[in-house]
Symmetry: C2
Subunit: 322 residues, 2 copies
């Protein structure tokens, strides 16, 4: 054991549970645990329980005194202020000065960020993006999020809201209403729900047979579409093809922002692999400005799903204050 | 006179002339001069002449020995390699390792960048964006260029081609062919030529009287449209209104990238002032995600046109190597 600060703490704060772990520079989780997010007298008690839980792990793994800092992945984190701005799923009034509370409790530097930014940090510290200085991480799940790394730096913006690429308008004439209150956002096409919307549109306007016709349309999920596509269902494949193309056209424009080396895909919808990555790549190459053609890799995240949120959060701590 | 390195050299390399100046931290040009870009035996002789010209200014202004570095604004500069990649307008074979050549000749650090990035650096060092850490500079001239500053850093990207926002596709169904070989780029709407295209479209599809109908359509310029708008010509005002709205919708999406505090406009078309900035602002506010509403200033560059290119180039030198 050296005196080096070779470990970081990752905290993944969800509406139900809060997970925490101690992680080394290779992205190995030395120990982890969780507590419920709700049911505490106040936020200080909640933070105290995280502290106790982390210190138990630190003692068990011999890492106490060797921890560099804390990273926390939190919805609606404002990196600029270190606060949770709007906490629809959390039991405390916002804004919550989480960075300060964590930093005071642990006596260590703390940084908070939203999930997609944390995922990008995790990918850069431990995953596919290791060594990459310019990439865009796109998370395709319930929503579409993104974390943008340019010139080796995870973009934050004036209030920490850089990289909301799920809410770029990809079709101004679309009738797809987004959760944000506008129409035609990337998220309405490439989230899990977006895939289902495309499926329902295609199923209702087309006549061909499809395994998807056996499923109650009100219960259809993007996973059903994926399973059908794996079984060679032509319409299911077409649904992913359409989804990938929408994303690819958007990525062609994204390239003009930050001249990235790679687009990295993460999240439930990204599990469709080449069903979505191939049309993405093709549409991006077809639409991109010559400067960006044949230059941008499209790859899936290499982080393990179950660990990605914790690893991403922990990764935020490595560069904090450097 | 202190021993501080309080001055920088700015070089603006055009196809015809190369201008150079010594500039202080307030953006005052202490002295400037120019040489023809062509007609030299080789690139070393050209660099030598720039060196001699700059040193003449340095001796005259007592700044020799107090110069921190060199910034050069150059078309098609690759900031990553320090080379001019493709020099359609320059008399030497590319790639041209300009950074190295300048640095060797002067014994000072040198950095090159394209015009729009230099303009953003100039705005940040001496202009409206002083103190701003997050803004997008959009240059509306023969082309549409941009320089993106996020978290206090001028984005470069994997090969220095970050910020080509003139080539974001704003209308995929457009029949407007762009110089880049694609259709519907922002540049085809918001450059000087884009304004003329809009004017010709509106004049041919509409019946109303307009001062613009007195001008030979083959010779119509964006300046003519501006002059007519200043005289209250309704169609001319509508042309700028349309141009501003296209740019405003695009800026609503740009906000989702870098969460900027300001959009700063520069270049010939930006001289239309509120004729373009007002519809820009309105369309951006109408289309932007709630996170960005009522947050982003739209302002004109405060740099003097004649000096902007030189100042921008010089500004690149202030942060180089920090």
């Amino acid at each position: 054991m050296t005196e080096e600060k070779d470990y970081v703490i990752g905290i993944d704060m969800g509406g139900t549970n809060t997970e925490f772990a101690i992680v080394n520079a290779r992205g190995d989780i030395l120990g982890h645990n969780s507590i419920p997010t709700t049911g505490h007298a106040d936020i200080r008690e909640y933070i105290k329980k995280i502290y106790d839980g982390v210190m138990e792990i630190a003692d068990r793994t011999g890492t106490r005194g060797h921890i560099r800092g804390i990273g926390a992945g939190v919805p609606c984190a404002n990196r600029e202020t270190g606060c949770i701005e709007v906490s629809t799923n959390l039991p405390w009034p916002s804004p919550i000065p989480l960075e300060e509370l964590l930093s005071d409790a642990f006596g260590l530097p703390a940084v908070i960020s939203n999930d997609a930014n944390a995922a990008a940090a995790g990918e850069m510290a431990y995953g596919r993006a290791r060594g990459l200085k310019n990439f865009i991480m796109i998370t395709l799940g319930t929503g579409v999020g993104s974390g943008i790394v340019c010139d080796g730096h995870l973009l934050s913006g004036s209030r920490g809201f850089a990289g909301e690429l799920g809410h770029v308008i990809v079709n101004p004439d679309s009738d797809r209403m987004c959760g944000c209150g506008r129409r035609g956002c990337l998220e309405t096409y490439c989230s899990a729900g977006g895939v289902v919307r495309t499926a329902l549109e295609i199923l209702s306007t087309r006549k061909e047979d499809s395994l998807l016709r056996d499923i109650d349309p009100a219960r259809l999920t993007s996973k059903d579409v994926y399973k059908a596509a794996l079984r060679g269902d032509a319409l299911a494949c077409e649904i992913f093809d359409f989804t990938g193309k929408v994303l690819g056209k958007a990525c062609a424009d994204f390239a003009a922002f930050t001249d990235p080396e790679a687009i990295i895909l993460f999240g439930g919808v990204a599990k469709a692999g080449n069903l979505i990555a191939r049309p993405l790549r093709e549409a991006m190459e077809e639409k991109a400005l010559h400067l960006y053609k044949d230059r941008i890799q499209v790859v899936a995240s290499s982080l393990n799903d179950a660990e990605a949120a914790l690893l991403g959060a922990s990764a935020l701590a490595w560069n904090n204050g450097d």
